[in-house]
């Protein structure tokens, strides 16, 4: 960088050297930093540190892994695919005869049997497969300002929403592909009492979205104004929707942009196979299990087409634990890594025993 190009300073240079009075020594300062003598800790990999580390990690990981595995195994999970691909499936007809514009909803009912009672709160999920919610153009296709209730963005959705920004010259609220493709199947659960009666299970629609999403990220235009219809005046519903956004729920606190089903959908999934929380079945008081063992049926209002992209739809019932839902991976991984570490520790110990001392104590030829 410092080419030896001439600077007029160099011409002046030797005044300072030969001139009297300019006797300040050019001796560099004696600081630990400049002399590269900063005090330092110089760790090296020795048998004394490496081997115990491996053993400790091994001993630590195996119990953690077992704990995780047991926890995961204790979680009860029930999954049912209701896409209706097989001709034998009750939803086969619905899946075949789908059209966006049909006014009469197609319903189907799938019976299932729970072998174990679900004691605590049960979480109902819908799962989609082969649905690329993480596709870049899809992920981008939203307007956070609009969703936050910004009146300006409501009427002028961001360009990112294209081609779902305007419909018939009216701004779409909520705009974008994500909103447009919102999951709109209705799932209902019925318990078939042994005595023959069919009891509908109460599904909670709230408490399924992140608090931050519901209270900060999403907001209706006009703030707390009760009249949502007026707030969304001049906008139109997304093309694929059946109802406008201000008609999603009768509950005021769960309507418009802050509808929790909508919020959950808008939190796009990372992977093409995902599940999203749909409803919560709260634990009843007393010793009664939330979902006792027995026969159930899932009633589906089949609105959401997935056959075009070979997707699958699932309904999942699950309990949870401190580590979330059922996922045996972490437990198995911890057990495996712990065992491998322990084994490696033994191997390294052997290597060290055989060769280490010989090599490290060998003198360095001068």
């Amino acid at each position: 960088m410092m080419a030896s190009s001439y600077t007029a300073k160099e011409e002046d240079g030797h005044i300072t050297v030969s001139g009297p009075g300019a006797l300040r020594s050019r001796k560099p300062e004696n600081t630990a930093f400049k002399q590269q003598r900063l005090p330092a800790w110089q760790p090296i990999l020795t048998a004394g540190t490496v081997l115990p580390a491996f053993f400790i990690i091994g001993l630590l990981f195996i119990p953690i892994g077992i704990g995780l595995f047991v926890t995961s195994n204790n979680i009860k999970e029930f999954e049912i695919d209701y896409t209706g691909v097989d001709a034998s499936s009750p939803c086969y007809n619905c899946s075949q005869s789908f059209s966006w514009n049909s006014s009469r909803p197609c319903t189907c009912s799938i019976p299932f049997y729970l072998e174990q009672p679900y004691e605590s709160n049960v979480y109902v999920y819908y799962g989609l497969s082969n649905f690329y919610q993480n596709h870049r153009r899809y992920v981008k296709s939203r307007d956070d300002s609009q969703l936050n209730g910004d009146p300006k963005s409501l009427m002028e959705p961001s360009k990112e929403c294209e081609p779902y920004a305007f419909h018939e010259n009216k701004p779409i609220a909520p705009c974008g592909a994500i909103a447009n493709s919102m999951f709109n199947d209705t799932l209902e659960l019925f318990y078939n009492d042994p005595n023959g009666t069919k009891v509908q299970i109460l599904l909670n629609t709230t408490g399924i979205a992140w608090w931050t999403d519901k209270h900060v990220k999403f907001g209706n235009p006009g703030g707390n104004s009760p009249n949502l219809t007026a707030a969304f005046q001049g906008t139109t519903k997304p093309i694929n929707w059946r109802r406008p956004v201000f008609d999603l729920d009768a509950d005021e606190a769960n309507n418009g942009f802050i509808n929790e089903d909508f919020i959950v959908w808008m939190r796009t999934a990372a992977l093409p196979t995902f599940r999203k929380l749909y409803r919560i079945i709260n634990k009843k008081s007393g010793m009664v299990p939330t979902l006792p063992r027995g026969n159930y049926s899932l009633e589906v209002v089949y609105n959401y087409p997935v056959r075009s992209f070979e997707g699958r739809k699932r309904m999942i019932l699950s309990t949870i634990s401190w580590m979330g839902g059922k996922n045996p991976f972490l437990g198995i991984a911890y057990i495996t890594v712990g065992s491998v570490c322990f084994f490696l520790g033994v191997v390294l110990l052997l290597i060290h025993h055989k060769c280490g001392n010989r090599n490290n104590n060998a003198d360095i030829s001068n």
Partner: protein, 1181 residues
């Protein structure tokens, strides 16, 4: 990359009309202005306020890296392609551009101020017949200016007149060529007569016609026309800008070249940038990475086409470019910035090193180039100058033999030689008021002999006081300074001075000396000057008593031929002594005298006068006359001068040799002298199997000797050299030929003289030379011209592909310093020219050990670690995107938050890696120099090479797989502990980036050998800042203010509170790190490197055991040493002004060299402080 840009840069440059001849008239401004010569204002600054921004940006975008990032930014502006927000590239680019711009601006402001300061200096200019103060920048060509003592020379001037007799002026040229001795310039008599009369000067209307501006400091050609007469002008009449006037009350000069045309400014052109081998490798790697990037993008684009199904041509094309943007982090812009910073830092360490500071002349080491540091750790060949580099260029009068008796050695009572050390008692010269206090001598007997009045001893010193061309300078009474042309002469005259024969002053006709306290003035009748053929010089003087004597000193062989037969006995004894001196590596001169009678002298002088005014064959006639008078000499004795080695040279060479560095000495000296130094500095050793001397005079002879030597060293070596041709460099355009090293048992030395070297460097022999020379431990080339020095360096550079270093101190080393990969200048006595063209400079040869073994090694280690880590960090970062592509429909979706992508290289990982690459040391400096073999990995390129790069890539491939698939598996269909979503894109991004950053930090910790507090602070600080920044960016406030830029609101709060997130992070980090630890541990156990061993040892012992010191051995040798004349041609001409004045215009003596037995007339020895350089046009190469 540099070459490409410089090529285009070259096309852009303007062509300026070339001036062919300069013509101007003194005191005639209007006439001179019509030629539009540059005035004396200089401008070294590049920009002004208005041009700064466009020019600087243009300069910066000429760097390929910046242009590339600009291109990426343009890509990002296309909405269909833009996979990242504009700020991910813009922020780093703007930061880099602005840092560089600020640096450039501050540099330029400094240049502006210094320009201004210089331009506004005042000088007396003769305008309209009177002297007026004028600013430097207003001085025009053709102006007459007056300079006073100690003033800087304003512009390149033609000397008109001066206050000193004979119109001489003394100038110091330290700023120009660095030589601190005074040089003499002399004006033409015709202008000298003008004196200081403003009247006369104002009417001076000489017309000068001269060469156009050029950068040759030692040459000037021109003519002065005055009143119809033409006088020739040469370098002797010209004062150059940058010099300082000394010892001269005033002088007048005529401006020839001003400002940018001056030789000083013409010499300050841009030097070609040297690039390190790592730079080249990096360029190649970057190119490979581009290819790799393209193929990755192509794979993903194809994937996209398949995923999208039919008619996806456009989509996949766009996806290709989108991925170019996303994956561009494999070549991050911060790489280049960080590399520069690391190099700068390591250069500062060199500047700051107290162990490379030389207190005697207050010189710290200086890294003049900040871009070559790591190459210091890879040196394989060192090319060293001898004089001033290995030796101090201080000659010490050490021993002498007078009339068959040797002086200068000390013996104890038993007659054993006593070694002279610092503590040995010195002779006390306080009786002599004029003695030089720095002179050291130990033998009392000599002083006693002189004081006793021994006539031979007195004659001996009288001769030394009279027969020389030294100029005395006596500022105050008794404060004598000698300006000697060669240090040998200075040493001899100083010796005479201390032994009571003080040379005090000289005029052209006389020499005044104090002889044992008595002032004696000798009439100087003739100086029979030294030249390379004569190898002797004589003076003829008349003593006050009227006795005529010829005093002669010269090389032993020459003088012996001219001795009177009566000296034969003495000759034998003296020869014995001479051999002893030669064995000690001393430089000898034989002294002789002859009494002349008046009649003969009268006749001789007449003939001499005739000869020296003859038109034809003047030289031959003079030589004949000299030959005639210098015969039948009486032998007086001989002097032995020690060419003092610099401190620690043998030890340094020993250590460097242990580090497997080969040292070649390229010297202008004679073979004998060079060999002597070779022995005394431990390069040639008695235990070497054989030392080959190549001294043939024909190409065939040289070839035969080289082949013989090679066969002796390695009988099975092939006749034809095994040249391996391959391609390398950018685009594999560069053809390389490589000569393999050949294994040799034992150590050998090679000495090759100038003539042979000239033949050996020819096309058909140079490989032969290279093969033979590279088999030897030590190579000494004697009588090497500067050009040959560069040729030798280039030869090794070209065919060995090894890193070379050239070290030297004089102007004759400049070519070699520039040719080598790394040039080191010794900022010693001889001058600054070598330093000015060098990359590193320091005061003593021994600091080379520290520069290479400590600083170089560390720099190399640090740079390699940095590159490895940096590539690892960025590849891992990028590969995760690649894996993710298979799960997001090849849509160029990023894994991480865009802000993380922006800040990853800039904030989160920059300081820790800088900390490592600025502070890391595997072992400290003591151990580094204790175990020179630690240096060898650098020479073999072990720490960073293409192989290492591939390994690095595989490692990051593994890490990225872990970093993507462990979170993937852990998050797959998982929910939070309250049943809500966690497998969403934003949480996954946060998890992936946190894992990545933690893994990178731990990996850095593993790589760091030397944990200072700063490192800790950087690592922990970066991690802390990551969490702080992330939490801030994901906070409500940031979202509400910049809604569209921070969509990740709440992600951190919702996801980092989950235990399974932390369990995943922990698992991922361990899986990335443990295999590395295990692998390193196994390697350490099974195949520890020297490095590991030393580090292991270091844990046990705090300090390395001191190396056993080998006592110096006295060499028993009969080799006759070089005689003590190292310069080309004396300036006897100058000191005997009579002849000087007779010979107008000064015509050069045609070089007598051409009569030597070699066709290579340019084989001149090194010359010191030559004044009349203009005379040597014919000889200089």
């Amino acid at each position: 990359m540099g070459s490409v840009t410089s090529f285009f840069g070259g096309l852009c440059r303007k062509q300026v009309k070339i001036e062919e001849e300069r013509l101007f008239r003194a005191n005639d401004r209007p006439y001179n202005l019509s030629y539009q010569y540059a005035n004396n204002a200089i401008r070294t600054s590049k920009y002004n306020v208005f041009t700064f921004l466009p020019l600087n940006l243009f300069e910066q975008f000429r760097r390929l890296a910046n242009a590339y990032f600009m291109f990426l930014m343009v890509l990002q502006l296309i909405p269909q392609i833009s996979s990242l927000s504009w700020f991910t590239t813009a922020v780093p680019l703007i930061l880099v551009l602005s840092i560089t711009a600020v640096k450039d601006a501050s540099d330029d402001i400094n240049r502006h101020t210094s320009d201004k300061q210089v331009n506004n200096r005042m000088v007396n200019v003769l305008i309209d017949g009177e002297l007026k103060k004028e600013k430097w920048m207003n001085v025009q060509v053709g102006d007459i200016i007056k300079l006073e003592n100690n003033q800087f020379v304003t512009a390149d001037l033609m000397l008109l007149s001066s206050s000193e007799p004979l119109n001489l002026v003394y100038v110091e040229t330290a700023e120009l060529d660095g030589e601190t001795n005074l040089k003499v310039k002399q004006a033409l008599t015709v202008t000298g007569d003008l004196g200081d009369s403003t009247d006369l000067l104002a009417h001076f209307n000489g017309e000068v016609r001269c060469e156009p501006p050029n950068n040759r400091l030692d040459k000037f050609k021109g003519t002065l026309s005055l009143d119809g007469q033409t006088y020739s002008l040469d370098n002797d009449k010209v004062l150059l800008r940058g010099c300082t006037l000394r010892n001269t009350e005033w002088c007048f000069g005529l401006v020839i070249f001003g400002g940018p045309d001056t030789k000083l400014m013409q010499n300050s052109g841009k030097t070609t940038f040297k690039r390190t081998s790592i730079d080249h490798l990096m360029n190649v790697l970057v190119l490979c990475i581009f290819g790799f990037l393209a193929s990755m993008c192509a794979i993903l684009a194809i994937g996209s086409a398949i995923w999208e199904g039919v008619g996806a041509g456009l989509t996949s094309f766009l996806s290709f470019w989108s991925y170019v943007i996303i994956l561009n982090t494999v070549v991050p812009i911060s790489l280049y910035v960080s590399v520069e910073i690391i190099r700068l830092g390591n250069s500062f360490y060199i500047d700051w090193d107290r162990k490379m500071y030389y207190p005697k002349n207050d010189t710290p080491a200086h890294a003049r180039t900040t871009t070559l540091n790591e190459e210091l750790g890879q040196i394989k060949y060192i090319f060293s100058d001898k004089t001033g580099t290995l030796t101090q260029n201080i000659m010490a009068f050490n021993k002498c033999t007078i009339n068959g008796k040797a002086y200068g050695e000390l013996f104890d009572f038993s007659g054993q030689r006593v070694e002279i050390t610092e503590k040995t008692e010195r002779l006390d010269f306080s009786w002599n008021q004029l003695a030089d206090p720095k002179f050291i001598f130990h033998d009392h007997s000599l002083l006693e002999t002189v004081k006793e009045g021994n006539p031979e001893a007195q004659d001996f010193f009288r001769l030394l006081a009279l027969c020389h061309t030294v100029m005395p300078e006596e500022k105050n009474e008794g404060e004598l300074y000698y300006q000697a042309q060669s240090p040998d002469e200075g040493a001899l005259v100083t010796a005479a001075r201390n032994f009571g024969f003080v040379f005090r002053s000289r005029t052209p006709e006389s020499i005044t000396a104090m002889e044992m306290g008595k002032q004696v003035t000798y009439e100087l009748l003739a100086v029979l000057d030294f030249n390379n053929v004569r190898k002797r010089m004589s003076v003829i003087v008349r003593s006050p008593e009227g006795k005529l004597t010829l005093y002669c000193k010269g090389a032993d062989t020459i003088i012996y031929e001219r001795l009177h037969p009566s000296c034969n006995k003495l000759k034998e004894v003296t020869t014995r002594h001479l051999n002893e001196y030669a064995g000690d590596g001393l430089r000898t001169l034989v002294l002789a005298y002859k009494d002349l009678d008046e009649d003969y002298m009268d006749k001789w002088r007449k003939r001499h006068h005739e000869a020296s005014t003859a038109m034809d064959g003047r030289e031959e006639m003079l030589d004949e006359l000299y030959e005639e008078i210098e015969k039948d000499l009486q032998l007086l004795g001989a002097t032995a001068v020690e060419d003092k080695l610099q401190d620690g040279v043998p030890q340094t060479i020993e250590q460097l040799a242990k580090a497997d560095i080969k040292i070649w000495v390229l010297t202008g000296d004679k073979q004998e002298t060079a060999e002597n130094i070779g022995y005394s500095c431990n390069m040639l050793r008695e235990e070497m199997k054989e030392i080959f001397v190549v001294a043939a005079n024909t190409p065939e002879g040289v070839k035969e000797e080289l082949v013989n030597a090679r066969k002796k060293m390695c009988p099975e070596s092939a006749d034809e050299p095994s040249v391996i041709s391959s391609r390398a460099g950018l685009f594999w355009l560069q053809k390389i030929e490589r000569v393999e090293d050949e294994k040799v048992e034992g150590e050998y030395g090679l000495v090759i003289n100038g003539h042979s070297l000239a033949f050996a460097l020819e096309k058909d022999l140079h490989l032969e030379l290279l093969r033979t020379a590279c088999m030897c431990q030590t190579v000494i080339c004697c009588r090497v011209t500067p050009l040959q020095k560069a040729q030798v360096v280039q030869l090794v550079k070209k065919y060995k592909q090894a890193i070379t270093l050239a070290i030297g101190d004089g102007a004759n080393d400049v070519s070699m310093i520039k040719a080598a990969h790394i040039g080191v200048g010794i900022s010693g006595q001889e001058g600054m020219q070598a330093v000015l063209s060098s990359d590193y400079s320091f005061a003593q040869f021994r600091y080379l050990q520290r520069l290479l073994l400590v600083h170089g090694r560390w720099s190399y280690l640090r740079m390699c670690k940095f590159l490895q880590y940096f590539f690892y960090k960025n590849f891992t970062f990028t590969f995760v995107h690649f894996w993710y592509a298979f799960f997001c429909g090849f849509s160029a979706q990023t894994v991480y938050d865009e802000w993380f992508i922006t800040l990853y290289n800039l904030v989160y990982t920059s300081l820790p890696v800088l900390g490592m690459s600025l502070f890391d040391q595997d072992v400290n400096d003591r151990w580094s120099s204790q175990y020179p073999q630690l240096y060898t990995p650098g020479q073999l390129n072990l720490y960073f090479s293409k192989k290492m790069f591939v390994r690095c890539m595989l490692h990051s491939c593994y890490s990225s797989l872990i970093l993507f698939f462990i979170p993937w598996a852990a998050m797959y269909d998982t929910v939070r502990d309250d049943g809500k979503d966690i497998a969403d894109y934003q949480s996954f991004a946060l998890l992936a980036q946190t894992c990545l950053l933690i893994v990178m930090s731990v990996q850095l910790c593993l790589d760091t050998f030397y944990w200072t507090a700063v490192n800790q602070f950087f690592v922990w600080g970066s991690l802390a800042s990551y969490f702080a920044i992330t939490l801030t960016m994901y906070s409500n406030g940031m979202f509400l203010i910049f809604t569209s830029y921070f969509p990740f609101i709440g992600t951190a709060r919702n996801s980092l509170t989950q235990p399974n997130v932390w369990l995943t992070i922990f698992l991922t980090s361990l899986l990335c790190i443990l295999p590395v630890v295990a692998y390193r541990f196994i390697v350490l156990q099974l195949r520890p490197t020297v490095n590991d061993k030393v580090r292991h040892k270091l844990r046990k012992e705090a300090l390395p055991a001191p190396a056993p010191r080998r006592p110096p051995t006295r060499r028993i040798s009969t080799r006759r040493s070089g005689y003590a004349f190292s310069h080309a041609q004396g300036y006897g001409d100058l000191v005997t002004s009579r002849r000087f004045l007779l010979r107008l215009p000064l015509k050069s003596r045609p070089a007598l060299f051409s009569q030597t037995d070699s066709p290579l007339a340019q084989n001149q020895p090194q010359h010191y402080r030559t004044i009349a350089e203009g005379q040597e046009d014919a000889q200089s190469p």
